[in-house]
Symmetry: D3
Subunit: 176 residues, 6 copies
């Protein structure tokens, strides 16, 4: 059983992420999708809760789910300790995939083989969120079941409100 | 017994806050004043400790105190979990008042009725702090007993130092 | 303005606690009632939430409330750092009252004058809770408004359930 | 889409747990298996890491996995806040299943419908662990793929060592 | 430069610990003395603060100090993550020495070579503390400079008080 | 025994720091070098782990080490509580030295005498890091044994990568 970690925030899960999973599963038996920064939600960069993101990933994966794990994992203050923290919550894996250079750097220091996933032109979490906030076409950038879920939870309205309020990850909640 | 929460940081407690409490107590039997971001102090945005702020609120409320609770509550990393955290430390209440849109949003998601309080023109915590830092007239913006307390603890000098050092909420404490 | 801290868990607030507050207020202008171990609830030793305990204390104090603060404070892992943590959330005070020897020891090490409060024979938090659990007379041990509040929140039933399940402060929540 | 939470520690996942999932999936479309006390491992009561437990559950579920989520969730100090914490990391659900009375009590207080799952006579996590420690027959109490995984990670040897050392959940790590 | 970790709680640093350091320095160039459970103090098992213990070790080591590091490190909830946490705060080392089997087990799982240190008959931290509490001869069990330091900080009186109050590591601070 | 604290982040330990230690040891018997912000590493401002920094300081101090302690200490959220936190992990000291005004302010509030250390023109942690990042001469700004250590751990390459990725102390680890 060959297994790899795929690490992202999935705010939201988009078609680039889906391509990454397909790419990983063309070589590995199973993939562990790590939903990082799990404790954060209701901010511009992290509008969706970990539970919502986990549901997005499962729905977005469709039949690929049977070869996948989806595991939300909190950030921790220490970059040096973070890979060990991830591995505490994940099934054993041989390699780490992420499009984030820094994630790869930290896992290399820990002793793992790391890989980039192929980028899909013009798709990223921040692009999808900005289109939601500005009324642009975000639906074509996410798998259809993810769009449905976002509609069910009024996700677009939430993103618009957070952008209007400019609630950042470390936003001041209580100015008064 | 009808009761409402009133949520702010009270850095410091000013005449706008006092008006809000009066407004709430015109409809509710009791108010629970939540001193949010309680763990922070000695920064530009949060110069005063929770204990100092609690004392400001009690003194500022005067005879209204007998119908009031004053409860300091820490921020927590998860926005989604924060309303439940507040409710853990507060007596039962039916509604939430805050001039902070984001606070209202989070409590609405939790299932509470939320309200704005009437704004007093030209008064806000950041205005009071800036006037302290710049030697302007801040005394007219706070209830007289709050001004006395700020004098007793050398609050203006503290705010000036923090502004001069530009110590932000996430300030680097230890550059060297 | 002479002020003292009075530190307890108030699970629940009983007539001995009320006597202590009266005793303190015979010498001091104000008392700061510290509701310690605030984060704990729904255990045998800590059945009530901090918010419930704060409400108990206010109701139990009656007219003494206008000379009192009631402030919930979490436990922290370090005994050495705990007095400073308490002082972060409380108005300035000159002395500390507690019937807990260890609390007094820690504040003495920090440099405070500490005092015992006069004990009321046959009353303690654990006696009240045990009587609740066993169907004994607990009402005569708490101020009448506290008894009313405990009735409103079905407190006796809660304590009975927790005793039946033997949920300790560090109880295993998830054996399966 | 009707969905329920199923909450346990799964130390390890045994045939009683599997029956519970089948029972839940006879009524609900999907189940969210919450691997509680996720941060603990290498103790007598919690020998396996969250990642190992997640893998056990997926393997043990077999084809039922496509209708299941498996989500590790840390304990938090506040019992009152814990249900909200669980819901932060889980897809929306209508009901909560657990054989732990206390878990059900906390979710009832939060406002959820809760249910027991049918008990399988003579099977529990502590029975399985004790048999591992004492050289008894534990294999018949877990689904065969779980037994295989436990063999792969030398789980029996680990449990024996932890029992020999008597490492409890709050065990002293550093006596010297 | 060959370096080894030596892990203990040093409550207090005794002659057995000193022998261990000598033993390690007979093979390694340097030793990193890890003062574990650093956040705990003022309990029966952990009477001394991390700072006091660090001072004990330096004084106790005498001229060996120039080949030693002394580093206080907090406990963390996850046993699996704890070795990585230790390594975050310590200079690079090749091996781990500890008389605690469980410490060795956790570092073996992490991939380190681990060793026991030679036991000195009749000396352990708990023996020293009990003798302090009961008025026995504890001085012959610690290096003379450690005894001096314990005298300077009134350590024996502290231990006696903690034993009299029976303050355990997870002791109830606030019964009332 | 007269002792002083010297507080910095030591990212990395440079010749200005060494001068400060010499200055302190000209008046005090011993110095306690506090490696602050210990939990942070692998960022632009904090590239090195606490363990690496501790090793830098010991090597950089050379024979002065026998009169020095080197103690890594985490940041905590509360500025008011931070001096007490530092003192929990450090041997008793009479005074605090730091070139950081804010550090001195917090210790003054706590009741300590505080002092600046003499600045060495043109040397600071941020200057050294920027030179590393930009290929400038950083070696002349650190004691030779510190330069050797930085070479052994490929520190320059690490700093360059972190600058290229612009990983700040609160950097987004997981954009995707």
């Amino acid at each position: 059983m060959k297994r790899a970690l795929f690490i992202g925030r999935f705010q939201p899960f988009h078609i680039g992420h889906l391509e990454s999973v397909k790419h990983i599963l063309s070589t590995y038996d199973e993939v562990v999708v790590v939903v990082a920064a799990a404790q954060y939600s209701y901010t511009m960069e992290n509008p969706f809760t970990a539970g919502e993101r986990v549901e997005m990933v499962k729905r977005g994966l469709g039949p690929l789910y049977e070869r996948s794990y989806i595991i939300p994992i909190d950030n921790v203050p220490s970059n040096y300790e973070w890979p060990r923290h991830v591995l505490n919550y994940t099934p054993r894996a041989e390699a780490v995939f992420s499009n984030n250079r820094f994630v790869r750097m930290l896992f290399q220091e820990y002793g793992y083989r790391t890989y980039e996933t192929p980028l899909v032109e013009g798709v990223s979490g921040s692009i999808v969120r900005r289109r939601m906030a500005e009324g642009g076409d975000w639906r074509s950038l996410v798998p259809p079941p993810v769009a449905s879920l976002i509609d069910e939870i009024n996700g677009v309205e939430r993103v618009k409100s957070l952008y209007a309020m400019r609630v950042s990850m470390r936003g001041e909640r209580f100015e008064g």
